[in-house]
Amino acid sequence: MNVGLLAQSLLAGITNGLTYALIGIGLAAIFKGSRVPNAMQGEFSVVGAIVVVLLLTGHGWPYWLAILCGGLSGAILGAFIEVAFIRYMIRNAAPEDSYLLLTIGIGLSISAAVLYFFGRESHLLPGFGSDNLYIILDAVVREHVIWLIAISILLTIGLRQFYRTTSVGLKMMAASIDPVGAASIGIDVTLMRTFTFMLGGALGAAAGILITPIIPVDYMIGLQLTLKGFAAAILGGLTNPLGAAIGGLVLGIIEAMAIVGVSSSYKDVITFSLLILIMIAMPQGLLGRAGRTGG
């Protein structure tokens, strides 16, 4: 294996890994904030990307404005799901497994709606910035990939800063850790849960918008992204959004190495076999017990 091929694979792994990371971060943020295992996190990506495609190619909106609306659509969908469904289920003391069924159902409905309104066609978005290609360590890199890596890292760091250094972030974190204690100091726990779903939705949409210039979006891709996001989040400890970032990167890089080392047909088999081994050896996730409680 030459250096160029290795660098190219590593870069592809980092690119995909950061996308999985964003989906995993959103999933972990929602799980941490509400204990809802969100089986439709990938659908946020589909909705975000489709909204951008629609506004950009269908209505000729400026790309930046379409991207902004795509991100907002994820946040609005997240808020809708919390207000319309989750809130009532929590009030009625629904068991955890019922949320899984709910989110699977919503995910399938969104997938069916995309099929109904947009058909089976795949849609690609133009890359961010120019179409320039760059050579890094013998690997050819599209400018969009550099944007994707930079934005993903900025979002991950920004999320940590948001949780730790803003009033609403501290309240969201407090409400997710101990709702009873949070209410006692005047935090509106229900509102914080809605914000958590909005944040998770916006992160999912961001992942979809970032990946669509590389991987076309269609009505089926949501489930695949959810599975990768779940794997990333569980690797990182599930309740730790920042652990999911590391989980996503590990997942992406293993996947890329499996493609270059064996075959793209077997990448999922090899990747998930390795993940199973990691989870047997480190059941608390890559960051251990401390990581599981952090973030």
């Binding site: 250094t165 803003t166 009033s167 935090i187």
Partner: protein, 254 residues
Amino acid sequence: MSGHTEILSLRSVGHSFGGFSVLKNVNFSVPHGSIVGLIGPNGSGKTTLFNVISGYIRHQHGLVAYDGHNMQAESIQARSSAGLVRTFQTPKVFEQMTVLENIMAGACKLTRSGVIEDIFSLPRSRADMRRIFELAEEACLKFGMEKLRHDLALRLPAGQRRVLEIARAVIGRPRLLMLDEPSSGLNTNEIASLRRWIEQLRAEGIAILLVSHDMELMTVADCVHVLYFGEIIASGGMDEIQKNTQVREVYLGA
């Protein structure tokens, strides 16, 4: 401060669980800036009464008035935002947050910035955060936690968790602070500090409703009520209570 002489007033408060009355016709009040104690054997209804006053349980009978307003329809967070703040028998600290972040979370209700300002870190949000950061640093000093401020709350021993919970409650500028067994798990020095803080809070005009089994600590109260099977059986100063024959029989076991 309003024209009412009492920050908290309970009139004929009653509550039952599955037909079993846990609170029966409870009447007492907490004057502004005073310390009122509540004692009683285990199962006498003290924690239920705390839950009723703080909104965790909606009482079935009577009136709970805070600063002259009926609190029946108010949520827990609305009561807390109005200055009615409580602590818990088992401290409810945010384990995955640092000591400083825990205390800052308690001060978040003092901020004026909105979500959008927070997300984009606009000037008002930054100013708010600087202010609550400074307040939290001061609280760490005041409660002797300055060396622990960057430690995760989950690493704190039981006594320090209790101190942290009190610091977090106090930073939000309560008008009525309800302390549930605050000396439990504290060592002698910590209890002495706790007593000093309680007296200092009263001097600052904060009313305190104190539940404790620690009779020595309870001497800090201006007035003590004894709860027994959901009923108040005696009220008065601690000296008076300790001499009360009925109290000695049912509570002090003498």
